[in-house]
């Protein structure tokens, strides 16, 4: 159902809510299209008129300046008009008032919603209930999915490693609460990575994590062997108070990525992090700023990938609006 909801009758992207159910071909098309937009960043004019006259609303029920900024920039570079709204969740805790917000914006002839919400499934809910011509992009929902982040990570990996089929990728840290990890795992499996390995203490792994298509390790030193791509996840401070971990220092000792531990992975391994980084908690500064880190590359790639996804999703809504097929 989630995949049907995302694709129109011709199998083209309509909403972008999760990577589940999307084909390897479609993910590759997103990466290829992003490549086109990435080329623009060196140009004097960083803007194209593809989405001129379109209105995109960033609906952020959960604050995230970084993600919101890259979505704003991406929309601006496509010449769309962008409006960002930070909405306190307390005001929309009920489905009805959330829908009221959506209906009000629809009445202002919006073409796309970019939705960030603290509850899993919120973007699906909005996509299901919004007017048929509107596209919805999930900018992170609860612990469920963060598909644009995962795609920019895939873009960065492909830039450096080209072929996914030989790659062993380790995702390290708080998998349990991470929507980024869930989307990354789906993307890597769809794109055919040789192995996706999650490394974390049991308290930070969801039940039956293997069912996501990963191998599991509870030991960083063992887990990093033969790894080509290391993805570190952000550790939220509140994990200590909820008894998931004893202390930051103990976590760093076991699962923090240091220069010495990095040597266990393949010599040409790259280090990624969706940001913002907790230096000295999940990653040592020397590694984060070191030659194997591609963390800043991820940030710049974020704009091109989001431009590609917005343009692709908008293309189907524009068409269905013309033909009235939707």
């Amino acid at each position: 159902m989630s995949s049907n909801l995302q694709l129109n009758s011709e199998g083209k992207l309509k909403h972008f809510l999760t990577l589940e159910g999307l084909s390897k071909e479609l993910l590759t098309e997103i990466l290829d299209t992003a490549e086109s937009f990435a080329g623009m960043s060196d140009s004097q004019v960083k803007k194209v008129p593809l989405l001129r006259g379109k209105t995109i609303v960033n609906l952020f029920f959960e604050n995230s300046t970084r993600t919101r900024t890259t979505f704003e920039l991406a929309a601006t570079r496509l010449s769309a008009d962008v409006l960002s709204m930070n909405i306190a969740t307390s005001a929309t805790s009920k489905g009805e008032s959330l829908l009221d917000t959506i209906r009000n914006l629809e009445a202002m002839f919006v073409d796309m919603f970019v939705v960030r919400h603290a509850i899993s499934g919120a973007a699906h809910f909005i996509a299901q209930h919004t007017a048929p011509h509107i596209s919805v992009i999930n900018a992170g929902d609860g612990q469920h999915a963060h598909p644009t982040q995962a795609m920019l990570d895939m873009f960065t990996i492909r830039q450096i490693k080209q072929d996914f089929s030989t790659l062993r990728v380790a995702i390290i840290g708080d998998i349990l609460h991470s929507r980024v990890a869930r989307s990354q795992i789906q993307a890597l499996n769809t794109l055919g990575a040789a192995e996706v390995r999650v490394i974390a203490p049991k308290t930070l792994l969801p039940a039956h994590v293997e069912s996501l298509g990963v191998t599991v390790s509870h030991n960083l030193t063992e887990g990093l062997k033969d790894i080509d791509v290391i993805i570190m996840l952000r550790l939220q401070k509140e994990r200590m108070t909820s008894a998931l971990l004893p202390s930051e220092s103990e976590y760093f000792k076991c699962f923090g990525l240091t220069e010495n531990k990095l040597k266990i992975a393949k010599p040409d391994a790259i280090v990624m992090h969706p940001g913002p980084i907790n230096r000295g908690v999940e990653i040592d500064s020397k590694v984060a700023d070191g030659p194997q880190s591609v963390i800043l590359k991820q940030v710049s790639n974020g704009i091109a990938v989001r431009m590609a996804i917005m343009a692709m999703a908008m293309q189907t809504s524009a068409r269905s609006a013309i033909t009235g097929s939707n």
Binding site: M1, S2, E20, S93, K94, G95, E96, L98, L99, H117, I119, S120, G121, A122, H124, F125, H129, D141, G142, Q143, H144, A145, R179, R182, P206, A207, H208, V209, S211, L212
Partner: protein
Amino acid sequence: MSQIHIQHGRIIDPANNIDRVGSVYIADGKIVSVTQEPAGFSPDTVIDADNQVVCPGFIDLSTRLREPGQSRKATFKSETAAAASAGVTTMCLQPDTVPVIDTAAVAELVKDLAEKSGYQQIYPIAALTRKLEGVELSSMLSLKQAGCIAVGNASQPVQNLLILRRAMEYAASHDLLLIFRPNDYWLGNKGCAHEGAFATRYGLPGIPEAAETIALSHCLELAELTGCRVHFGQISCKRAVIKIHQAKKYGLNVSADVAIHQLHLTENDIQPFDSSYHVLPPLRTDADKDALRQGLASGTLDAICSDHQPHDMDAKLGAFPETEAGISSLETLLPLMLRLVAQQKITLPQGIAALSTNPARILRLNSGALTPGFNADVCVFNPEFSWQIDADSWQSQGLNTPFWGQTMTGKVTHTLQAGKLIYCQGE
């Protein structure tokens, strides 16, 4: 007074070990005789039950009619009509109304509402603790005298075991049955789905089986300590079935039921983020479903309940974890039981016993059987009749069922409650 003759039906009365084609004779609201025509019987109503099943009216151990307090979701009027059309002649009402059924006044209000709805046999379950908060005991004796049939925790966990112990001791002192849904507050961790592959994939807060089995184990220990009679409601997992089996074998005076949807649906059936599948305890795994079915067949689980929870649209509108749990399930109770029979998981008499004879025994009611002298609570149903769940066929105000739009087999044609025809198909 009126005399009713139900003829030519297949009479299934598990309590009296009857399964044969024949007649049921009713006079003055009571069963007079089965098969044997009483002398001087001159019926003013004859119900022809050719090719139909005639059985005791169903007794539902867990329903919510949403009054008092939540009439936007459902009313006694709408839900008693749904119950009548589903062959249900007796309902136990969970105490989590607004206000909670924790005083005699609220219990009497419920009885009043029942009387006005023209549907007689509604039994409130009294809250075990005040406001179901698990802190102070409710006035159980007054509640019993006001008509409450048992005490219970609805779906609220009792966090403090000392309070649970005292509540059980007090209930035992007044010979009150405890209807307990086992659910550990801390392990439940405000989850909304079974802690398994589905919850992991969709990033939903999970509820492990241990939340049920640990609370169940605590309560079993306290049942032995206090001597309180306990009925466990809405069992959802295999390990709980095993624990109940062991407890019964050991000799504890306990019983258990399972909600009808747990016998058919698992986490694999959930459409992503479809709130109509949001139910507590959550839909679990295939292994759990199989164990629940076996538990029912073997008698470890005594009864099937509807766990009827009608909701308004808004309650189910939102991202999955934000929506309210529960299924509107009175009207699918019979067809889904018949589906188990069709799948040869249980026999038809077993299914009927789980819906009538056994709940009556648990509640110590003189009903759930076609025994002469008992109230004439009778359900006549056509086991082959196919119908679709849609706005035309549905009676409950709550449209929240994952079975919406599906075709069901088996439909009640007549429901008699104490000899009064409260439902007749097509009327």
